[in-house]
């Protein structure tokens, strides 16, 4: 029963079940298409979810609410700089990552210097990022360079390229958390920051790098999403606010900090796409769709936590 005790198994189980139910509707037709779509769209949720997971691991009260605004700002500035010109993809990437870095640094400095609670600091900063995005481009939608768009929508060995990026990032985060000194520091800080500091952990470096990481991930996600969907829009990140938190907690990461779960993030990201697809396919009205989504999310959390308790 050790498998059932793994907190991520529930997210994956739920994803598999919703997949089966959706495909059951067409008696198996379209399974490949659905899996492909789930991997494509799940990748964006997974990338921001991995970042959010690192922040949530830092302990209670730590969460980044500026992810959507950072995605939008990074994408807007990157696409504006590239201006659809061929050969500028790397320049755009560099700009998106730099914007993410800058946003992360700003968030962290607000938290450190002004001692704002992270939830408020990132919320307030996100309004500023949103204004910056509006001011810089006034919502004009600039197309990504052709090659970049092809990459973002393309596939490799049958798996979408964006999913490869998301998977690569997941492996990287997993190694960082499970094997690296930094990961141990992060997990220690998340359990008790004061105790960690007194045990010699450079807690501020850990916090800074975590807030930088989540924003850089958001910048990357924004860049990829804009390239994928044909340009940046001012509201492109909106749905990733709740999504990033949902995939982390459904994936089995403890909201109390000090404990995180990489495979669960991917499972939950796939699940969140599939559950909406399933309800759409069954023709559920908007109200029912919301009620069922909420009920399923709670059911997964209950299943995962009672299992853990019984162990």
């Amino acid at each position: 029963m050790t498998l059932l005790a793994k907190p991520w198994i529930w997210a994956w189980g739920a994803a598999a079940l919703t997949f089966a139910l959706t495909i059951g509707l067409t008696s198996g037709r379209g399974a490949g298409e659905l899996a492909y779509a789930a991997l494509s769209f799940g990748a964006f949720a997974a990338i921001v979810g991995l970042g959010q997971m690192l922040v949530i691991t830092l302990g209670p009260g730590n969460v980044d609410l500026s992810i959507p605004a950072t995605m939008t700002l990074a994408a807007t500035l990157a696409l504006k700089a590239m201006g659809s010109m061929p050969g500028t993809a790397l320049l755009g990437l560099a700009i998106a990552l730099a914007v993410g870095f800058g946003a992360g640094l700003t968030n962290y400095l607000l938290i450190l210097l002004l001692r704002l609670p992270p939830i408020i600091a990132t919320l307030a900063a996100s309004l500023i990022y949103q204004s910056l995005a509006i001011w810089s481009n006034r919502g004009l939608r600039i197309k990504p360079p052709e090659a970049l768009a092809d990459f973002a929508t393309g596939r490799f060995f049958g798996v979408p390229n964006v999913a490869w990026v998301g998977l690569g990032l997941a492996v990287l985060v997993w190694i960082a958390l499970e094997r690296s000194v930094w990961g141990r520091w992060l997990l220690a800080t998340g359990q008790n920051m004061r105790a960690a500091r007194l045990a010699g952990v450079p807690v501020e470096r850990v916090r800074a790098s975590t807030y930088l990481a989540v924003s850089v991930f958001a910048g990357l996600a924004g860049y990829l999403l804009a390239s994928f969907s044909g340009g940046a829009a001012l509201n492109m990140g909106a749905e990733y606010l709740l999504m990033s938190i949902a995939v982390v907690v459904i994936g089995g990461t403890s909201i109390a900090g000090g404990n995180s779960n990489v495979p669960g993030v991917w499972g939950a990201a796939l699940f969140m796409f599939l559950v909406i697809s399933m309800l759409n396919s069954y023709g559920a009205a908007a109200g029912l769709k919301n009620v069922l989504t909420g009920a399923i999310v709670i059911a997964i959390v209950i299943a995962a936590s009672t299992r853990k308790g019984r162990k």
Partner: protein
């Protein structure tokens, strides 16, 4: 005791408590009658706190029974507990904390009786306590919080306390206040109340207890009137080699160059054990924390840190509760042997098993969660964490809090040998006895150093003298 023994307040019959393979309590039979003052002693992990939790209903027994003479549960039988870890609500005031335990206090204007009740109780147990019933608990020092908790336990609370269980109540108190508590316990028992008094300070136990019960590995191994025990016999029963009086170090040793000097006047030389003493809450902990924070960084970390810290307040400053014993030990030495920023698990495992053996952490496997250890054994983990590093300076904030006498002796000799190898220790202790083992002692009063004692000057009298305001000064 009269011939007609009154009915016991609580009776345990063959009570057992198992946590998985751990037999925390392995068949304990015990009856506590009005007027009893039982001293409960035993090594770290002997099962003392588990016994307390069984009696007050915090956990239920795996086997055996617990019966009260009045009502079905501890509360209605008038059983009160002061737990090993502090358990007040820090966001509430002293009077409001009384309200939490006093269910009858409600309705309009409940505050006035609450204030009066806690004030009366504090005044009775700790005269001159100086605690205002309207202060929030989190602005009090650890010692003051402990006093409040004890006062709440003894307060009438509508029903009158009949049995009060004190689990290491004096570990955060200095000698003077501990003396007040002991005097009160004696009065309380003389008036027909019962007390279970758990402590690792055998002097106190002898002082207060009418009967002494020795727990070892979950079983009662000795039980008798206090006067039937000698100190040696007691230590023997607990299962440790009798401690030989640690001889006070002569002034013969030579130390290396000075490695610590703070603006406050705190100084230490290489190889020296420096004690910080004085009454609890007079700035010793703050001075040590400041020293540690100023000599270490929240931004950088190095393979060979300058200072390490041993926490006394485990919950707040030490234990990383979600982790195993192993990870708790290795957190300070992760950089040793790490390559490309990845942890070397061999170095880690070796250090953990090495220190488990050296310091005697009672566990089968260092992969067990750290919270499965008893309080004293968790403290050993924190020792191991600090000593496993190569740091030349070790800062210790009352690290022997709740450590049993045998382990203490081991720890003392380990400190000595580490010091002989050139390590410097700064050691804050609430026990004057421990301060007397140091090479140099700084006594604190009101946040400043009031005396620096060395060599033969380090005596209990001199320390106490420096701890209190001079009476004649006017």
């Amino acid at each position: 005791m009269t011939d007609q023994a009154p009915a016991p307040i609580v009776t345990l019959t063959e009570a057992k408590k198992h946590f998985g393979p751990v037999r925390a309590l392995d068949g304990v039979t015990l009856a506590i009658e009005p007027g009893d003052c039982i001293g409960l002693v035993g090594h770290n992990g002997a099962g003392k706190s588990t016994l307390v939790n069984l009696i007050n209903g915090g956990i239920s027994p795996s086997a055996g029974s617990i019966k009260f003479d009045q009502g079905d549960d501890a509360l209605s039988a008038g059983v009160r507990s002061v737990f090993q870890e502090l358990s007040l609500c820090p966001n509430l005031t002293v009077a409001e904390n009384l309200r939490i335990s006093h269910h009858e206090l409600k309705g309009f204007g409940w505050r006035r009786p609450a204030r009066a009740e806690i004030r009366a109780s504090l005044d009775e147990i700790f005269p001159d306590h100086g605690i205002d019933a309207d202060t929030e608990v989190d602005t009090l020092s650890i010692a003051e919080r402990q006093m409040v908790e004890i006062a709440i336990a003894f307060a009438p609370r509508g029903t009158e306390a009949r049995l009060v269980i004190l689990d290491e109540p004096t570990s955060a108190l200095d000698a003077g206040i501990a003396g007040q508590l002991i005097a009160h316990v004696k009065r309380f028992c003389a008036d027909g109340g019962a007390v279970i008094f758990i402590s690792h300070m055998l002097g106190e136990v002898f002082d207060v207890a009418s009967r002494i019960t020795v727990l070892k590995d979950g079983k009662i191994v000795a039980e008798s009137l206090a006067e039937d025990f000698t100190r040696e016999a007691l230590v023997d029963a607990m299962g440790h080699v009798a401690a030989q009086e640690a001889e006070t170090s002569g002034a013969l040793q030579s130390f290396g160059p000075e490695v610590v000097r703070t603006p406050q006047g705190l100084a230490a030389r290489e190889g020296e054990i420096v004690g910080l003493s004085g009454l609890a809450g007079h700035g010793q902990a703050a001075a040590l924390a400041q020293l540690f924070l100023s000599r270490s960084s929240a931004w950088r970390s190095s393979k060979s840190p300058d200072v390490v810290f041993v926490a006394g307040d485990r919950q707040r400053d030490g234990v990383l509760p979600l982790w195993s014993i192993l990870k708790n030990i290795s957190i300070s030495i992760l950089k040793q042997g790490s390559r490309f920023g990845l942890v070397d698990t061999n170095v880690e495992a070796n250090a953990a098993s090495d220190w488990k053996a050296r310091i005697g952490i009672r566990t089968e496997d260092t992969n067990n969660p750290v919270l499965s250890l008893s309080g004293g054994n968790q403290q050993k983990v924190l020792f191991a964490r600090a000593l496993a590093s190569t740091a030349p300076i070790v800062v210790m904030d009352d690290p022997m809090r709740g450590v049993d006498i045998g382990t203490k002796q081991d720890a003392y000799s380990m400190l000595r040998s580490e010091a002989a190898r050139g390590r410097t220790f700064l050691w804050y202790s609430t026990e004057t006895e421990e301060a007397c083992q140091c090479d140099r002692v700084f006594v604190f009063r009101n946040g400043v150093i009031s005396a620096e004692l060395t060599g033969a000057d380090i005596t209990e009298e001199k320390i106490l003298e420096a701890s209190f305001e001079m009476q004649q000064a006017s």
